[in-house]
């Protein structure tokens, strides 16, 4: 395959970053914006071409006997630690990668377009586009990674672009602290990932170059994924705290994914990340970056399968997070926070789905790899409708100048486009057919039921909660009671300009039809196509649960009524706890500020200044003290001088004499 397009995919956004980042200050806004959007359009074209070539060209590089192949378009050495530890920068084309290329470029283009309208009056418009380009570059680099180390590199880069974009409104202290928090929490998670990579690569690099793993770089995905049993063999006998080292390594790597994908307990940064501009939230914190964890698990799927404990770990973490986030989402006031928790919950859904998948046939299960396909499918559909929801929220915020649903209400009359597109988004996430979310969620639930009924039931409940909280805010925004301020002329909300509405409409349309994509034809764990078919009873259950939840939300929130506040008063503790996100932030604050900062750092700083430095000063002080103490020897009295003189001579002799005896 021609490498021009793959290189362009990475080069265009990076060049945009440099051009806009360095020259942006001197550029007029219009110019910067148009360059950004045009470049992104070109990028979109490239990505689509590559993805379509991959899926449809039938080139034997990509598909052999109906089995989709993984293909390294290029893989060049970037840094060689040792013969076996070689970091390459490359481009790995495979189903999930192609799918991600589509998702990223689409959403990115939508967001670029949308931001033209949304950010029009913000200072630093050019900088904003530069950062978006940087993010797009990093995210694309992440998904095309040929090896775990390349992934780690871009993993860090998406972290920093996320930091920059969250803190875009850098004059606001809240934005600054949110961006810091996001960066540090994810960095903390990345530390574990790094350790995981260290451990994994250590054992792989120990294998002989002519062994079963071959002499390829120990980081390489293809090599690792195609010989997971040999990797396991290389760690044979090495255990740590009861688990095999490979299990630990894979779990540690997953912890990195937990950080990026905001899994409990590393989720705390994502809600705060909503301080960033809303389109950014749509791009990074809903559609692309936060699914990096899911992507990571999918990428390393054969490796995770070889150590089933790690899959169980993923499932458990995902399940707990999904439920937790759904509950918290029910008690948030800020619409972006609701969406943020919804994102956490949905990503956790995908995690559980992946955790429930398996690459070997399982007895009694029709298709053991369903969870993988379903998770990816949901990733795809979720990206579309969650971006839609965020962009819709952006339009609302743009109109109302507040994130708070209490400042909204009855907006359906004023903002019809926003209303309808938002509704489509809500229906999609709630899992109502024929919207896209239904299909992907149904497949996921089927996979979970297949794995264990507990997961199925548990996640069905979460799905119900999802429908409830989404329609809760839907009603609170668009129905409930009209905000009296809208009557005043200047405050009358209205739909957003076309640059903003267009992406909404496009994404809504995609959300309507995406469910009908035969996703299993394209993306499966082993490349063999799988024909999706609906499991009737699962679909029935989930639709029923969703409809019931929507009905409940309708009853509670469609018209202004005292029911919600009564319920709130009935369970004040629970509501408060959920509203405060079960006090995770407070716990973190306590640990970081009181213990680490106040306890460890201050103690060390004090120790350094007073003990270590004090010792050095004390050396000087002692010298000085001696100097002062012995000054009386120099008494000025010549008789004393000669006394010392003689004494010295005698002492010299006497001591030597005694020593010789």
């Amino acid at each position: 395959m021609d490498i021009t397009l793959p290189i362009l995919i990475l080069a265009i956004p990076f060049a945009m970053f440099l051009i806009l980042g360095i020259g942006g200050v001197k550029m007029p806004r219009k110019l910067a914006g148009s360059i950004g959007i045009l470049a992104n359009g070109a990028l979109l074209a490239c990505c689509y071409t590559v993805a379509f070539t991959y899926f449809f060209s039938g080139d034997p590089l990509f598909i052999i006997d109906g089995v989709r192949q993984q293909y390294q378009v290029f893989d060049v050495t970037w840094l060689a630690f040792t013969d076996r530890l070689v970091v390459n920068i490359g481009f790995l084309l495979d189903p999930i990668c192609a799918m991600m290329l589509v998702v990223i470029s689409t959403i990115s283009f939508m967001v670029h377009l949308y931001s033209w309208g949304y950010m029009e009056h913000e200072p630093g418009f050019q900088r904003y586009y530069a950062f978006l380009a940087l993010f797009t570059f990093s995210m694309l680099g992440l998904v095309v990674a040929t090896n775990i180390f390349q992934m780690y590199i871009f993993w860090e880069l998406v972290g920093v672009s996320s930091f920059l974009l969250i803190g875009f409104f850098y004059k606001l202290p809240s934005a600054v602290s949110a961006s810091k928090k996001a960066f540090i929490v994810t960095r903390f998670a990345d530390l574990f990932m790094l350790i995981g990579i260290l451990v994994l690569s250590y054992y792989v690099a120990q294998t002989p170059a002519d062994g079963p793993l071959g002499g390829a770089s120990a980081f390489n995905f293809l090599m690792l994924n195609s010989h997971p049993t040999n990797v396991l063999a290389s760690t044979l006998g090495a255990t740590f705290m009861g688990g095999s080292v490979l299990t630990w390594a894979m779990i540690l790597i997953f912890v990195g994914g937990m950080g990026k994908s905001a899994m409990l307990p590393l989720h705390i940064w994502l809600p705060d990340a909503m301080e960033g501009p809303t389109p950014v939230s749509a791009l990074i914190h809903a559609a692309t970056m936060v699914v990096a964890g899911v992507y990571l698990v999918a990428r390393f799927f054969p490796m995770y399968c070889i150590v089933p404990d790690s899959l169980t770990f993923i499932t458990v973490v995902g399940a707990i997070t999904a439920f937790y986030a759904a509950v918290v989402a029910c008690a948030q006031i800020d619409i972006k926070r609701v969406l943020a928790f919804s994102t956490i919950s949905q990503i956790a859904f995908m995690m559980v789905s992946l955790g429930c998948a398996y690459d070997q046939p399982i007895e009694g299960v029709h298709y053991s790899g369903l969870g993988y396909m379903a998770g990816m499918f949901h990733l795809f559909t979720h990206a579309m409708f969650k971006a839609l929801l965020f962009l819709g929220a952006g339009a609302l915020i743009h109109a109302v100048h507040s994130n708070d649903y209490t400042k909204m209400g009855g907006l359906r009359k004023y903002m019809p486009i926003t209303h309808w597109t938002f509704l489509i988004g809500c229906l999609a996430i709630a899992g109502i057919p024929p919207f896209s979310g239904f299909f992907s969620k149904d497949e996921m639930l089927t996979a979970m039921y297949n794995r264990d009924i507990i997961w199925g039931v548990w996640m069905t409940i979460v799905a119900g909660l999802t429908a409830f909280y989404m329609f809760r805010i839907y009603y609170l925004i668009f129905w409930w009671e009209e905000n009296p301020e809208y009557k005043h002329d200047g405050h009358k909300p209205h739909d957003a300009p076309w640059q903003m509405s267009l992406p909404l409409i496009i994404l809504a349309a995609v959300s309507c039809v995406a469910g009908f994509i035969p996703f299993g034809e394209f993306v499966t764990f082993n490349g063999e196509p799988y024909h999706i078919h609906l499991e009737g009873w699962v679909a029935g259950t989930s639709i029923t649960v969703a409809v019931l939840a929507i009905a409940l939300a309708t009853v509670m929130y469609a018209k202004k009524n005292p029911l919600p506040s009564k319920m709130r008063q009935a369970m004040p503790g629970l509501w408060m706890a959920a509203h405060k996100r079960f006090y995770w932030d407070e716990i973190y604050m306590f640990v970081t500020h009181k213990i680490i900062f106040g306890g460890i750092c201050r103690a060390i700083a004090w120790f350094d200044r007073h003990i270590i430095d004090g010792t050095m000063d004390a050396l000087a002080a002692v010298t000085n003290f001696c100097s002062v103490k012995i000054k009386s020897f120099q008494s000025g009295n010549v008789q004393a001088y000669v006394a010392w003189y003689l004494l010295g001579a005698l002492l010299l002799g006497a001591i030597t004499w005694i020593c010789l005896l």
Binding site: K631, S632, Q634, S635, G636, N637, V638, Q639, V642, A643, L646
Partner: protein, 103 residues
């Protein structure tokens, strides 16, 4: 060691010690000079005695003593001159008055 030689050496040691004692305890610089002379003479005495008893064949010790005496005289002369200077400057010749510079 020759017992007879010891008879001569003991006074030498006593002289030396007396000189040191005098030097350390006396106040007047002239007295200090006298003490120093005692010490020097003790050393001279040693030379003579050793020469006489240990190496009766040669004269080195004796000659050395002669030179030492001459040097002692020169030292005393210079010392006296300086003491006179001090006396002119401070009005007495006590060693205690020459303790301005210290530490």
């Amino acid at each position: 060691m020759d017992l007879e030689m010891l008879w001569y050496l003991v006074p030498s040691v006593i002289m030396f010690c007396a000189g040191v004692f005098g030097f350390i305890t006396r106040k007047n610089t002239i007295a200090l000079l006298l003490s120093l002379e005692l010490m020097l003479n003790a050393a001279d005495l040693n030379f003579v005695v050793f020469n006489r008893y240990l190496f009766p064949g040669s004269m080195e010790g004796m000659v050395f003593t002669l030179f030492a005496i001459a040097i002692a005289a020169a030292e005393t002369a210079i010392a006296i001159a300086i003491i006179i200077n001090i006396y002119r400057a401070v009005g007495n010749s006590d060693i205690t008055s020459a303790q301005k510079m210290k530490f």
